[in-house]
């Protein structure tokens, strides 16, 4: 799964791509010397007035300034002496001197760090001439003033008489400011009626703009969180673009300290951040070595399901990303498994928020066939066991009808892609609710040959949804053949174990040169379920499983499929007996041995 390529399709990736492209296509990337006058002019302008426009300009340029500092630092470090540096960059002292006193530049961690490093890099340990000696003096003086100067005489007096350290005092003031600003933001309500008074939401915008340099400041994080969660009732003002951009950058670097609700609000308001979060989840959940239980763990730890339950728009974006990913990775069972785990988690969160979650499903799944929504989102554990079969029969026949309609249309009008879309959406929904497919497989073992038709169809549809591209009809035939084999292998009548019989089953799993082969996980899923729920003694089931898995070379897939079964049966609400659990343990050990 090439996630980098995938990322380029989304906003978060597009921005990175554009930046890279700009850097690569610019014929002449200006060097440090050429950029000095520009930045000096900026520094002078910024130092002259402190207006909202100035602050906006600073926020806009902060990232570029950081990059410039980095280049500057590299340049200074590459030159052997300060004299040489000052010869090359005569405006450097002025620039650094001015920017040192600009609080918007020094409040932000990265830019402060780079600025200080540039200053310190200019210090000569053994000054060789008057210029370097003077530079040293100046640098030390600036640093001393930055750290120890106090503007507020009252503060100095009080600190002295009350023995309060400087750092503690300023921290106290900062925390007090954060509290007061949070309060004033919390109290601001947009009253459309009072047009003469002016909207107080501009204070929210102003606060967000001012907070751009403070995004990674730990003391400011309650304020950042409050800004993100501020109810946006005003159409005119919102959070500043620079603020959301800076948040996204910090979020990408994992440099953000926000509580849960603030992160949810960030995703709600910053599309690139949301996309990045979803892609990161997919990458980590499908990483090499991830098992179904690890996937479930990662999904349940993620805040995304909760965010989706709280905001329909967030869910639609996430679902769209899943849709895009699925279209590119149809056969990837790991990815499909993530979708299933996510949907289950999401529905659980939704149920926590709403007493009747099924009522709002249509809003969350506008493109899916409405009649399938409630049936698929009813959890198997919520139904009495006897009803499961009929339920699945209904689901299967609904889907069959849908595909038949679509295929009829296809025949009559080959350019009709709309129908295909309906089948895809139905299939996508089934993939997300794949727990029903798992129940179908179990029933295929326990219910006998008379009912297996629709259930097999459902299972085949899950792996091979269309006729045109996936040859569902012929796969169904193969699936039936596999089921027949397994049925006879695992029935008590067939004794002793016929080697030929076993061999012909194994050959079903081998890839065939001429025809499209049945998805191995389909067959393995059937095998594993037969071994667990079948009537044969434990040891024989294990033996059959071992032979099949070993000879077909599909150990990893078999292990994965068994993990999924085990997870499902460990779920609260499943009716698995101790016997079943024991059998699964044994099978797990058997397959593990084949993996070594």
């Amino acid at each position: 799964m090439d996630f980098f390529k995938l990322k380029s399709e989304f906003a978060c990736g597009k921005r990175q791509m554009t930046e890279l492209q700009v850097q690569q296509t610019t014929a002449h990337w200006p060097n440090v010397q050429e950029m000095m006058p520009f930045w000096l002019e900026k520094a002078i302008a910024w130092g002259q007035t402190d207006t909202p426009d100035t602050r906006k300009d600073i926020s806009l340029h902060l990232k570029r300034l950081r990059d410039f500092f980095q280049e500057l630092l590299t340049e200074i470090s590459s030159v052997s002496s300060t004299t040489e540096t000052l010869n090359r960059l005569p405006l450097l002292g002025q620039l650094l001197g001015r920017l040192c006193w600009n609080p918007h530049v020094t409040a932000e961690g990265a830019s402060r760090g780079l600025l200080l490093q540039c200053l310190l890099a200019l210090y000569s340990e053994h000054p060789s001439n008057a210029v370097e000696g003077k530079a040293n003096q100046w640098i030390q003086k600036v640093l001393c003033q930055l750290a120890t100067d106090e503007e507020d005489g009252a503060a100095v007096a009080l600190m002295k008489h009350l023995a309060v350290p400087t750092k503690e005092y300023h921290l106290k003031v900062l925390k007090k400011m954060v509290t007061r600003i949070q309060e004033s933001i919390g109290n601001s309500r947009c009253s459309v009626s009072s047009t003469n008074k002016g909207c107080s939401c501009s204070s929210v915008w102003a606060a967000s703009e001012a907070c751009v340099p403070l995004i990674t400041c730990p003391e400011a994080s309650p304020l950042i969180g409050a800004l993100l969660q501020q109810q946006m009732t005003c159409i005119r003002e919102g959070l500043s673009e620079n603020f959301l951009d800076a948040l996204h950058s910090a979020y990408s670097r994992c440099d953000l300290l926000l509580d849960e609700q603030a992160v949810v609000s960030l995703w709600y308001q910053s599309l690139p951040s949301l996309e990045e979060a979803v892609l990161n989840l997919l990458v980590s959940a499908t990483a090499a070595g991830s098992t179904p239980s690890k996937v479930e763990e990662q999904v349940s730890k993620s805040l995304l399901p909760k965010a989706c339950a709280q905001h329909c728009s967030v869910f639609l974006v996430v679902n769209d990303i899943f849709r895009t990913v699925l279209k590119q990775t149809e056969r990837n069972e790991r990815v499909k498994n993530v979708f299933q785990a996510f949907t289950k988690c999401f529905f659980m969160e939704l149920s926590r928020l709403q007493p009747q979650p099924s009522a709002s499903l249509k809003a969350f799944f506008p493109q899916s066939p409405p009649s399938l929504l409630i049936p698929l989102f009813t959890m198997p554990s919520e139904m009495p066991q006897e009803s499961l079969k009929n339920h699945l029969m209904w689901v299967s026949s609904s889907l069959q009808r849908l595909t038949e309609e679509d295929e009829d249309e296809e025949d009559s009008d080959s350019s009709n892609i709309r129908g295909n879309h309906k089948v895809f959406e139905a299939w996508f929904l089934l993939v997300q609710c794949a727990y029903w497919v798992q129940v179908a497989v179990q029933l295929l073992v326990t219910s006998g040959p008379e009912n297996c038709g629709p259930l097999l169809w459902l299972l085949t549809f899950y792996h091979h949804p269309t006729n045109r591209w996936h040859h569902r009809a012929s796969q169904l035939v193969q699936a039936k053949a596999a089921w027949d084999h397994l049925y006879s292998l695992f029935s008590i009548v067939a004794r002793p174990l016929s080697a030929d019989h076993l061999q012909s089953f194994i050959s079903l799993l081998a890839p065939k040169p001429q025809q499209p082969s049945l998805a191995p996980s389909l067959t393995l899923n059937l095998l594993v379920n037969f071994a667990t729920f079948g009537q044969l003694p434990q040891s024989t089931s294990a033996e059959i499983t071992q032979k099949v898995v070993h000879q077909s070379g599909l150990q990893d897939e078999a292990a994965r499929v068994l993990s999924l079964l085990r997870l499902r049966l460990n779920d609260r609400g499943s009716f698995a007996s101790d016997r079943v659990h024991l059998r699964i343990e044994e099978l797990h050990n058997t397959i593990k041995k084949t993996q070594m």
Partner: protein, 343 residues
């Protein structure tokens, strides 16, 4: 006690070295950390004993001795006062940074900046990155300051007010003699003489801090009494602060409410009507209060303490009647105030 005195002496000597000696050039991170450790020790001594006059006396004597010998050895040495001990680390930092022999490695260490948000600035023990954190705090405050609502005392004054209250509370609890607390207030607030406009918000903030204990209430009471006892102090405060703050103070403290109302009345009685301008003007130029401002004060006061309205209006009416009860502008300041309030 001997050990304490010895350590105190040594640390002050250390400070002198940090300030003036070229030896600093050989200091490494460990040395600096240890120096700050000793400075912290002195701060601890100060906070433990500054309220104990006997031990304080002993410590001050030792300090005198050390200062004297250091002054003989280093003419440029500045004496360290007992009060300075309370902020020993800051002093150390200041003197180190002013010492031209300070090696670049130490500067780099002090100004190190961790770019990630992981830096826990609540760890006072850390010397590494100390200066960068101070700069961050100060800059963050400057950035946020313009966002705060104007009709309030401001976050700086609030924090300073809290500090004042804490100090006052400690001074009051340490001895039953009120002169101690008075000395404390005088010594702190005299520094404000130069920055008089900063004084008023701090006092207001101090009086508005939430009091959780009887000691805190007593401290506020003490401050109020002090305010009223100082000539012109109350007047100064009421001239400098916005109506909203004064109203909040009145709401909070009965004493202040009474004094404020009395002051307003006095101001009104001192007003003269200037025919040429058609305005009431305050006779004394020291505190120029306009009728408009007074009206605003009254209105905001009524918002905070609605029960006052009838009381004040009755008083004003009574005064207007005493003035002849004319319904014409310019004849009775009380009548004109009433008119302005009714609008």
């Amino acid at each position: 006690m001997e050990a304490v005195l010895k350590n105190l002496g040594r640390t002050v000597e250390l400070l002198a070295v940090a300030a003036h000696s070229g030896v600093v050039n050989e200091w490494d991170e460990q040395t600096v950390t240890r120096a700050f450790h000793w400075a912290r020790y002195c701060e601890h001594i100060y906070s433990r004993f500054h309220g104990n006059p006997v031990i304080r006396g002993v410590l001050e004597k030792q300090l005198q001795l050390t200062n004297h010998s250091l002054k003989e050895a280093l003419p440029e040495y500045n004496a360290v006062s007992f009060l300075d001990l309370g902020r020993c680390q800051d002093l150390l930092l200041l003197w180190l940074l002013n010492n031209s022999a300070l090696p670049i490695s130490i500067m780099k260490m002090l100004f190190e900046t961790k770019a990630s948000a992981d830096s826990t600035s609540s760890n006072y023990e850390d010397v590494r990155g100390l200066c960068s954190q101070i700069i961050q705090c100060k800059s963050a405050c400057t950035v946020l300051r313009p966002l705060l609502d104007v009709p309030s005392v401001g976050a700086d004054a609030e924090v300073q007010g809290e500090m004042l209250m804490e100090g006052l509370g400690t001074a009051l609890s340490q001895s039953s003699d009120p002169r101690r607390a008075e000395d404390f207030l005088s010594s702190v607030l005299q520094e404000f003489e130069v920055a008089a406009e900063h004084l008023c918000p701090v006092i207001a903030a101090a009086l508005l801090t939430t009091t959780d204990s009887a000691a805190q209430t007593a401290a506020q009471d003490f401050l109020l009494d002090w305010l009223q006892s100082r000539r012109g102090a109350l007047q100064h405060v009421c001239t400098a602060l916005p109506s909203k703050v004064l109203a909040d103070l009145a709401k909070r403290h009965q004493k202040f409410r009474d004094a404020f109302c009395k002051l307003l009345k006095r101001w009104a009685s001192e007003m003269e009507y200037r025919l040429t301008e058609g305005e009431w003007v305050h006779a004394a130029t020291s505190s120029a209060v306009s009728l408009q401002k007074m009206t605003e004060h009254y209105l905001t006061l009524f918002e905070a303490c609605p029960s006052l309205r009838t009381e004040i209006e009755d008083e004003l009416k009574a005064q207007r009647i005493a003035d002849g009860d004319y319904d014409v502008r310019g004849l009775s300041v009380w009548g004109d105030i009433l008119l302005a309030l009714r609008k």
